[in-house]
C-alpha cells in the first residue's frame, strides 16, 4: 500500500522524490508520483532538488550520434502538432480559444451540450500553453450523461478529468481502457479513482488516433483478471481531433 500524503513526513517525501529521480520506483509508483507532481508543491520541490543533485551523473554516459532520420521525424511531428493546434501568440492568447471556429464546429458536431464545452474550455485555459490535440467526452451509455473528459495535449500523454462524482460499488473498481479501430482488443490504462484526475503516459501505446475508443468499465478491485474488459461499461466515448 502506498502511504497517503497526510501520513508522510518530510523525510518520507524526500525518500520518495530521491528514488523517483534515481529511477528505482516501479511503474505504478512512478505514475503515482507523476500524478502528484502537478499539485503537490512539497514533493515537486524535493524532486527538483534531486534532479539538480544527480543530473551531473549524465556526464558519465557516452554521447551517440543520432541517425539523420531522427531530426526529420521530430520536424514532421512538430509540424503536425502546429497544424493541429497552432499556439496562441501572446497578443491573441486571452481569447484564442473563443476564436477557434474549427474547434467549435468540430465539437458541436459531436452533439455535446454547451455547458460541457464551457467546462472544457475552462479546463483548457488553466493548462495554458499546452496545445490540446484530442478531446474525448465519456458519457454514460444508458442516458448519455457526460461523466469524464479526456484531454490530450501531446500524443503521448492523456488526462482523464472527472466532471462530477461517479458511484462505484464497494467491491468494484473502475478500469480505464482504450482501443483504436485497427487494434485487436482494448488495452488497459489502469484503475481510476472516482472524482480524481488521472494522467496516463501513453509511451507504451501507438500515438492517439481520431475515433479511438475510450471506456470505463466496472471490474474487480484489482482490475480485470483476464486483461480485457469484463464488466459493464460505465462511460464511453471516442477521440475527436481538435483542428
Amino acid at each position: 500500500m502506498t502511504e497517503t500524503p497526510q501520513d508522510e513526513s518530510p523525510d518520507d517525501i524526500d525518500a520518495l522524490a530521491s528514488e523517483y529521480v534515481l529511477g528505482t520506483l516501479q511503474a505504478e509508483q512512478r505514475i503515482e508520483v507523476q500524478k502528484r507532481l502537478a499539485q503537490d508543491t512539497e514533493l515537486r520541490s524535493a524532486v527538483d532538488a534531486w534532479e539538480q543533485r544527480l543530473y551531473p551523473l549524465t556526464e558519465l554516459v557516452e554521447a551517440q550520434s543520432p541517425t539523420p532520420r531522427l531530426w526529420e521525424r521530430i520536424e514532421r511531428s512538430v509540424n503536425s502538432i502546429e497544424r493541429q493546434a497552432p499556439r496562441a501568440t501572446a497578443a491573441a492568447q486571452p481569447n484564442s480559444w473563443w476564436n477557434r471556429l474549427a474547434l467549435w464546429r468540430g465539437l458541436a458536431a459531436t452533439g455535446l451540450v454547451a455547458s460541457l464545452l464551457l467546462a472544457t474550455a475552462l479546463l483548457t485555459q488553466t493548462a495554458q500553453m499546452k496545445p490540446i490535440t484530442y478531446l474525448v467526452v465519456l458519457v454514460a451509455p444508458q442516458n448519455q450523461t457526460p461523466g469524464w473528459v479526456i484531454q490530450a495535449s501531446s500524443p503521448r500523454e492523456i488526462q482523464l478529468i472527472p466532471l462530477g462524482g461517479t458511484q462505484v460499488p464497494a467491491d468494484k473498481a473502475l478500469e480505464f481502457w482504450t482501443k483504436a479501430d485497427d487494434w485487436q482488443g482494448p488495452v488497459s490504462l489502469g484503475l481510476v479513482t472516482p472524482g480524481q484526475t488521472l494522467s496516463v503516459p501513453l509511451d507504451k501505446l501507438p500515438p492517439l488516433e481520431p475515433n479511438q475508443l475510450f471506456e470505463l468499465t466496472l471490474e474487480s478491485p484489482t482490475g480485470s483478471k483476464t486483461g480485457k474488459p469484463t464488466g459493464p461499461v460505465q462511460f464511453i466515448g471516442r477521440a475527436v481531433k481538435v483542428i
Binding site: A27, R53, T58, A63, P131, P201, G227
Partner: protein
C-alpha cells in the same frame, strides 16, 4: 557538460513562442548526449531514438512550463528524456497487450539480459562536482548501486541480479546511500 556559450534558457523561451529554429539549435547542441542517456537506459538504438523523438516533442509542447527557479534549462531537457526512457522501461516490463509493442518489449528485455552480462563499469574519476565528491564517500558497492540505477536505469531487482546481492540488501543500500548523499550535498 554544458557548453559555456550556449544559452539553453533562451532556447526554451523561444520554443515556447513557437520558434522551430530554437528547437533545432537545442537538437544540434544536445541530441547526441540525450541519445546516449536514452540508449544507455533503453539498451536499444531504435527505442532510444523513439525516446529522444518523444523528448523533443515534449520539450516543444511544454517549453512554456519550464521554470528557471526550479532548476537549469539543460537539466530540464535531460530529466524530460531520462523520465521518458524510465517510463518506457518500467511500463514495458508489465507486458502490454499490443502485439507490436510486446515485440519491442521482448526485444528490449532480451538485449537487457545481454547487457547485464557486459554492463559497462563507471569511470567517475576525473569528474568534478559535488556529487562526485559525495559518491566517493560511499562504500564501493553502494556507489555502484546508485550509478547502475541512475545511469543504466536498472531496477532494484536488476541491480541485485547484476551484483549477486539479495534484493532486500540492495534496497536498503540505495535508501541509505540516498540519505548519505543528501546529507553530503545539502
Amino acid at each position: 557538460m554544458p557548453e559555456p556559450g550556449f544559452d539553453y534558457e533562451s532556447c526554451l523561451i523561444a520554443c515556447a513562442r513557437g520558434d522551430q529554429q530554437a528547437l533545432r539549435d537545442l537538437y544540434e547542441q544536445e541530441s547526441p548526449r540525450l541519445l546516449g542517456v536514452a540508449r544507455r537506459i533503453a539498451r536499444d538504438n531504435v527505442l532510444a531514438e523513439d525516446i529522444v523523438h518523444d523528448a523533443f516533442i515534449r520539450i516543444w509542447t511544454r517549453a512554456a512550463s519550464f521554470n528557471p527557479a526550479r532548476g537549469s534549462a539543460r537539466g530540464w531537457i535531460f530529466s524530460v528524456t531520462r523520465h521518458l526512457a524510465l517510463n518506457f522501461m518500467r511500463n514495458g516490463a508489465r507486458e502490454v497487450q499490443v502485439s507490436e509493442q510486446s515485440e519491442t518489449a521482448l526485444h528490449a528485455s532480451a538485449s537487457m539480459e545481454a547487457s547485464l552480462e557486459t554492463a559497462q563499469t563507471f569511470d567517475y574519476h576525473g569528474h568534478s562536482g559535488r556529487i562526485y565528491t559525495c559518491l566517493e564517500q560511499l562504500e564501493p558497492a553502494q556507489r555502484t548501486c546508485i550509478l547502475h540505477a541512475y545511469v543504466d536505469g536498472y531496477s532494484h531487482a536488476q541491480i541485485a541480479q547484476k551484483l549477486g546481492t539479495p534484493l532486500g540488501t540492495v534496497k536498503a543500500w540505495i535508501k541509505r546511500s540516498l540519505v548519505a548523499l543528501r546529507e553530503c550535498m545539502g
